[in-house]
Amino acid sequence: MNPLKRILYAEDSAADVELTLAALEEHHLANEVVVVNDGVEALDFLHRRGSFAGREPGNPAVVLLDLKMPRVDGLEVLRQVKSDPELRTIPVVIMTSSREERDLVESYRLGVNAYVVKPVDFDQFVAAVKEVGMFWAVVNEPPPENTGNR
């Protein structure tokens, strides 16, 4: 069994995954990331089912979600996480290309913990990803395990 990693990253674009991991690498956080390619895999991971049935129990410190993904999109994953008593305390960060207001409004309505628009400029992108990774995976104190039912 692999040890639990601190960041679950759901992103369907291989290029985005590589750039994000490159950015996280600068803070040596890349090894803390589990990458899944869509919403279905993200939910499988969180519920420890399907190909993730055998993973170590426990929740990640943070979930990074892209909005536009095949099958189940980011907003749906967010909705299911925040309506599940076992999962809703996990911090969820939306990372998206779009600055569309309705996505922003819907995300906060569903209870997102942070909403990040990925900058086009790579330096800014690296800075944004590093800050998100550092804050949620290192600086922020995650909720104690098994307190979802309070």
């Binding site: 290029a15 985005d16 909005l67 290309s97 779009s98 600055r99 990925k118 086009v120 790579f122």
Partner: protein, 484 residues
């Protein structure tokens, strides 16, 4: 051309009046005429019935007179029979005739009790009959005592004279009765003629008035029905228009939805690959930078710069699209305060430059404050940008009331200006009159200004000359006290 609209024409403005006073009066007149006809007819009928009763009465009188005549004749005949034969049975007939005569005369007295002249004539008849009967009695008595035929003959001659008197009295009575009958018939005929006249007149009045009222009422009913029909028609056309309107709204909503989907996909799908280009160029520079020559590094920098420029274009285009779609939140906007705020926000651009601002007293207008802020920001930063090659930038903002009642505002600079030949391109999307190398920008600023001003019901135009500065004009609705 000069033809006046016919009254009560197709415009449907003719009001449906309530039944007028005239129609009510005509109705009343018609009813009065009918009642008058009824009364006069009744009276005439009664008069005719009376006349026919009188005719019967006259006939009865005449019949009674005839019977009396016959009785007297019969009495005479009985006396003569007795005188010839001396048989007592003739006397029986005589007695019967006598008592009959008395009864007839009494009956006549009752019949003509209403008329004094006839009563007088009856008196004469009574006397004549009495004289005649007395003569007959005398003759019968004489026969009993003196059965001499000569005496009897003399009596008979005298009797004929007496009989003539009786007949004369009867004729008198009959004539009197005939005269009365003629008089009554004349009266009845006159009454009938009068009644006919009244009925004819009354009928005419009734027909004219009631018919006239009926025509008027019918016309009003027709007018009302017509008005109702027109109302139904117009309701139908309103409903049709509503349906069309709903259809158009649905289409517009669909188009809007498509536009939104389009800009969403532009926002998301076009930005992601740009980010990837930028990111991988950067990674490449880090990894391969030391082994690349200057030309290769410049190529990588050009790729990164182009991607950034395209990112800026997309952002500007999305902002422009938002300005076109967002709802206008109209309120009172103090342009003086707005210009001052925007100037403060541009302090960074002014740093280290000699800029002279000339801002006159600006009016209050009606508009969306956020959108008007975009207009002012774009215009002032344009003025700063295109005048930055001058030793001293001179920027002026002013206004005047236009002929159209709107505020005509202008922003003038002493910058590089433009060729009036290309003034039409100035406000187009992504239209630029300068090279990016000279003046950065995507060419969306003035297009956004025009779009916002148009949405406020205003216009934009410009004046300028190459190297002699530019003046951008725009108009906005003035705020009027108590109007907004």
């Amino acid at each position: 051309m000069g033809t006046p609209t016919p009254p009560g024409g197709r415009d449907g403005t003719k009001a449906v009046r309530p039944l007028g006073l005239g129609v009510s009066a005509a109705f009343l007149l018609g009813v009065v005429a009918l009642v008058a006809i009824g009364i006069v007819s009744l009276r005439s009928i009664r008069s005719l019935v009376e006349t026919s009763e009188w005719v019967a009465h006259t006939h009865e009188v005449l019949a009674t007179l005839e019977a009396a005549d016959a009785d007297v004749t019969s009495a005479e005949a009985s006396r003569r029979g007795y005188a010839l034969s001396g048989a007592e049975r003739h006397l029986d007939g005589y007695e019967i005739a006598r008592s009959n005569i008395a009864a007839r005369l009494d009956h006549l007295a009752v019949l003509i009790a209403d008329n004094a002249a006839q009563q007088q004539r009856l008196g004469r008849l009574r006397t004549a009959v009495q004289v005649r009967l007395t003569a007959l009695d005398t003759a019968i008595a004489a026969r009993r005592t003196h059965p001499d035929p000569a005496v009897q003959t003399a009596l008979t001659d005298e009797g004929e004279l007496l009989m003539k008197e009786v007949r004369g009295a009867i004729d008198d009575l009959a004539r009197g009765e005939a005269v009365l009958l003629a008089l009554r018939e004349r009266t009845a005929r006159a009454s009938a003629e009068r009644a006919s006249l009244v009925v004819l007149l009354g009928m005419t009045v009734a027909v004219v008035t009631l018919g006239g009222s009926a025509l008027v009422v019918a016309r009003q009913i027709r007018a009302r029905l017509h008005a109702e029909e027109e109302q139904r028609e117009s309701q139908k056309s309103v409903q049709r228009l509503n349906v069309e309107l709903a259809h158009n709204v649905a289409e517009l909503t669909a188009v809007n939805g498509e536009l939104e989907a389009f800009s969403y996909s532009v926002s998301h799908d076009l930005r992601a690959p740009l980010r990837h280009i930028n990111g991988f160029v950067d990674l490449l520079q880090r990894r391969a930078g030391p082994v690349l020559d200057d030309t290769a590094r410049r190529h990588l920098a050009t790729i990164a710069g182009a991607a950034r420029q395209m990112g800026q274009l997309i952002d500007d285009l999305l902002a422009f699209s938002r300005m076109s779609r967002g709802e206008l939140m109209r309120s009172r906007v103090r342009l003086s305060a707005l210009v001052a705020e925007v100037r403060d926000g541009l302090a960074e651009d002014v740093r280290g430059r000699d800029v002279v601002w000339t801002v006159g007293g600006l009016p209050e207008v009606v508009g969306d404050p956020a959108m008007l802020r975009v207009v002012i920001t774009n215009l002032l930063s344009n003025a700063l940008k295109y005048s930055r090659t001058r030793e001293r930038s001179e920027i002026a903002v002013g206004w005047q009331r236009g002929d159209d009642g709107q505020a005509h505002l202008w922003v003038r600079d002493n910058g590089v200006g433009f060729d009036m030949q290309y003034a039409g391109k100035l406000f187009g999307v992504f239209q630029r009159l300068h090279r990016v190398a000279e003046f950065e920008g995507t060419g969306i600023g003035l297009a956004t200004v025009r779009r916002i001003v148009h949405r406020h019901g205003g216009r934009t135009w410009a004046e300028g000359a190459v190297n002699a500065g530019a003046t951008i004009y725009f108009s906005l609705p003035l705020y009027e006290e108590g109007a907004a």
